[in-house]
Amino acid sequence: MDFEFSVIVESLPALLAGAKLTWIITILGIVGGMIFGILAGLGRIAGTEALGEKPHGIFMSISVLIRYISSAYVETVRGTPIIVQAMFLYFAFPMLVKAVTDIERFRIEALTAAVITIIVNAGAYIAEIVRGSVVSVNKGLLEAGMSLGISRFQLIVHIIGPIAFRRMIPPLGNQFIISLKDTSLFIVIGVGELTRQGQEIMASNFRALEIWLAVAVIYLIMTTVLSMSLRHLERRMKIF
């Protein structure tokens, strides 16, 4: 077996370009996923005691509707493979648009489809993390807040939010790493991310060992950076 280190050196610029794309998709994906996740996570418990007082009348009806929509989103995403979600968005969704509207040349860039897929996919899993942490906040603390006469918004922002967020950090770290690794699936829609770059170099020089080793190490470095920054955040916030 011959191991040529120079192969890695030569392919490094292309691999790093792929890694950069992987990183961009991941960061945009988890930032958007956090927004989706917080909205859908709170949506799944809208109108329940986990968010303070139960609303009345029309507000209760609205809450129930929000709960249904959020649950449908989470269950749909969790119940289908991410690769199918990406394929659907990239190949099927434009056809659907064409079928129901007059827009002839509608298409989604592969990179855009990749980012949206991560946002939507991570959002559903983050929603469950958000819901679990919010529900686990001690009811006594909510009552203490309410008994001071603050609004529901203040209760969520100043009491529930900070306490729940600390509990979310470890599972969030987990999800961020999963999302980063999920970007390798976008090879199927032709995004030039790290795995795709590795695959292309491999196809031209047949140096599987060097290339896949290099690809694996680069992934490992990126996931380590993610988990270390979350651990740093956790340590800074773990004051109680």
Partner: protein, 246 residues
């Protein structure tokens, strides 16, 4: 004296179980009312009904002129005027003692940060915890936490304070410090207080009225010393016997 709290024929059910039956109660401004009764008799439910942590099922509640259920939209106003101290303290774990106390004035009363901090410092000094302002709840003893919680409730400047067994979760040696703070509030500020407790000494010393509840009803009430000396019902006799012996 005008009533600050009035319950008229109030019932409260959880599901199919009614736990408060036709309660009538009127509390005057400045009164210190002590509520005793066996476990499950509805003391907490009554107290929590007053600041609408539990919504009454029927009857009428009038707090500081606000009528429930007619004016359900004004529950926040009721809570601004009615503070609560809990058995488990329930301090916000991510805030220091000072932040806990300043939180109410700042967010519920929209005060400037510096002004809220001033109020909080004064109150922490009043409950004897001036030098603990930067401690987190987790770094304080139970007695200290409960004193911070009392300061937190006072900080919003309410007209009424509700206490739900404020010393029941405390080690015996810390009960005194909390009761002392409560006594000084009752004596110095003329605050209206409704206190669920089994501390009969406190009831006798600072209570204007003692209420005995059993099975969701007010069974006896009157001047604490009288009620304790001359219990009318067997149930109260029984209950007092138990309290004295434990």
């Amino acid at each position: 004296m005008p009533s600050i709290i009035e319950l008229k024929n109030v019932c409260k059910s959880f599901g199919d179980t009614e736990v408060l039956h036709n309660v009538d109660l009127s509390i005057e401004e400045g009164e210190v009312v002590v509520i005793i009764g066996p476990s499950g008799s509805g003391k907490s439910t009554l107290l929590r009904g007053i600041n609408c942590l539990e919504m009454i099922s029927s009857g009428e509640l009038i707090v500081d002129g606000i009528r429930i259920p007619a004016e359900q939209g004004r529950i926040r106003q009721i809570r601004l005027e009615v503070g609560m101290v809990f058995q488990q303290f329930n301090l916000f774990p991510h805030m220091t003692a000072l932040e806990n106390v300043a939180f109410g004035p700042r967010k519920a009363r929209n005060m400037a940060k510096a002004e809220a901090a001033d109020i909080a410092r004064n109150l922490l000094a009043k409950v004897g915890l001036a030098e603990f302002e930067n401690k987190l709840p987790g770094q304080l003893s139970g007695g200290q936490q409960q004193r911070v919680a009392i300061a937190r409730a006072l900080a919003v400047n309410p007209k009424v304070l509700l206490f739900d067994e404020p010393t029941s979760a405390l080690d015996p040696e810390m009960i005194g410090e909390v009761l002392d703070v409560m006594k000084s509030i009752a004596k110095d500020s003329g605050m209206t207080m409704v206190v669920v407790t089994h501390e009969m000494g406190f009831a006798a010393q600072v209570g204007n009225r003692l209420i005995f509840m059993d099975d969701g009803r007010i069974v006896e009430e009157g001047k604490p010393s009288e009620v304790m000396k001359n219990p009318q019902s067997e149930r109260l006799k029984d209950f007092l016997g138990h309290v004295r012996h434990h």
